[in-house]
Amino acid sequence: MSDDQAPEPEESLFEAPPMGEQERMVEAILFATAEPISLRDLAARMPHGSDPAEALVHLRKRYEGRGVNLCKIGDAWAMRTATDLGFLMQRETVETRKLSRAAIETLAIIAYHQPVTRAEIEEIRGVSVSRGTVDQLLEMEWIRFGRRKMTPGRPVTFVVTQGFLDHFGLENARDLPGLKELRAAGLLENRPPPGAGLPGPDEEPEEESTEGQSELFED
């Protein structure tokens, strides 16, 4: 990142471009790529002293209600066509690989329960997760490894990616449909079976998973 700025400091030490210009720059950069671009990358590409965050606020307003919209995806930004115009775009439609029911459910469980371990996914689905399923979701870059859980064995966890958010038009994992209701109904808890696991007082799993999520939803 830092090395890219090398040629610019000479001019940019003096003054950042006016906000109107910055807005144009952000617009041009976002139009040029299909992938979402993070605020940090925007800043790195714009002249020193620019404030892409503010430029994005203006730009988003400008594209409100247009055929193309400015979308926030995680902490990145991208231009996407308005969803009501999809019918015009048959020719651009990409056939996505058909996901199996197991893969779809696994994906949903990861999205709603993240960070979640393989054992927890199996507990919810009542069957073991097949090798290919996780592999496929990793390959599609819809899930990735999250932090290890601080429980015995320190198992790896899975979380969803920016690519997942982008694909499903979500600004944030908080915007998952029905998330609040599910949480209110206690259905995102990882309740251990009574008596069976006998989790010691120091490794209460449901404590952790709620913690993980509340942490996720604070920012």
């Binding site: 996505t96 459910e105 999205a111 709603y112 009542g126 449909p177």
Partner: protein
Amino acid sequence: MAETPFEEDTISVTERLAAEALIIDVDGFEGPLDLLLTLSRTQKVDLRKISVLALARQYLAFVDRAKALRLELAADYLVMAAWLAFLKSRLLLPPDPTEEGPSGEELAAHLAFQLERLQAMRDAAARLMGRDRLGRDFFARGQTHEVTRTRKIEYTATLLDLMQGYARIRTRDEFRPFVMDRDSVFTMEQALDRMRGLIGFAGDWTDISSYLPEGWEMDPVRRRSATAATFAASLELVKEGHLEIRQSETFAPIQLRKKDTPS
């Protein structure tokens, strides 16, 4: 819930047909929990108000019928059947205060919770997949910008590459019956270093074995490694024009001599 002991006889024809369809289709289920969830739908009530006792009966009846039809059920279906039979007895008998562990009601509540949670995740998955989706309902920029003024090569790798790379190395290790003993390996680089220091003195034809490093001649493993490395290093030096090499016949000693006019 008024359960009659004859409930299996009193089920209607349609219910019987539905149950048989379930049996024929048992491969279509993703395990006992999936099957229980399907069975629970026949109760036509909110999953929160489900009768676990009735469900246990349905499931056990299902397993009995599968046995009658001589269908092979996977082990986990039978494990679930045994557990549900246990649960059923707990729910029906008055609680024994001396018995330890969770009560039948607690176990039933947990099963109901599991079913409700699985159903909730299925609904969530369906809602998720029903959302407007990139590449189907909304689209990214089709014409990305391409300029060929500055070219910078950037190497990339994915996490999968990395993990597979690591896995490759580690599995190779698992297969290796012994760990390479570095102490007994004399590398060609080492041999080259040694030879370069010695050839200055090799005016006359000398047997290659005299160039072996000290202390490497006795142990056969070490001698083999040192011989191979020394031989390879000799060839390298011949190629560089510092050395001449000869062997009068097959298996005869190999002899080395300094080349007088090194280029």
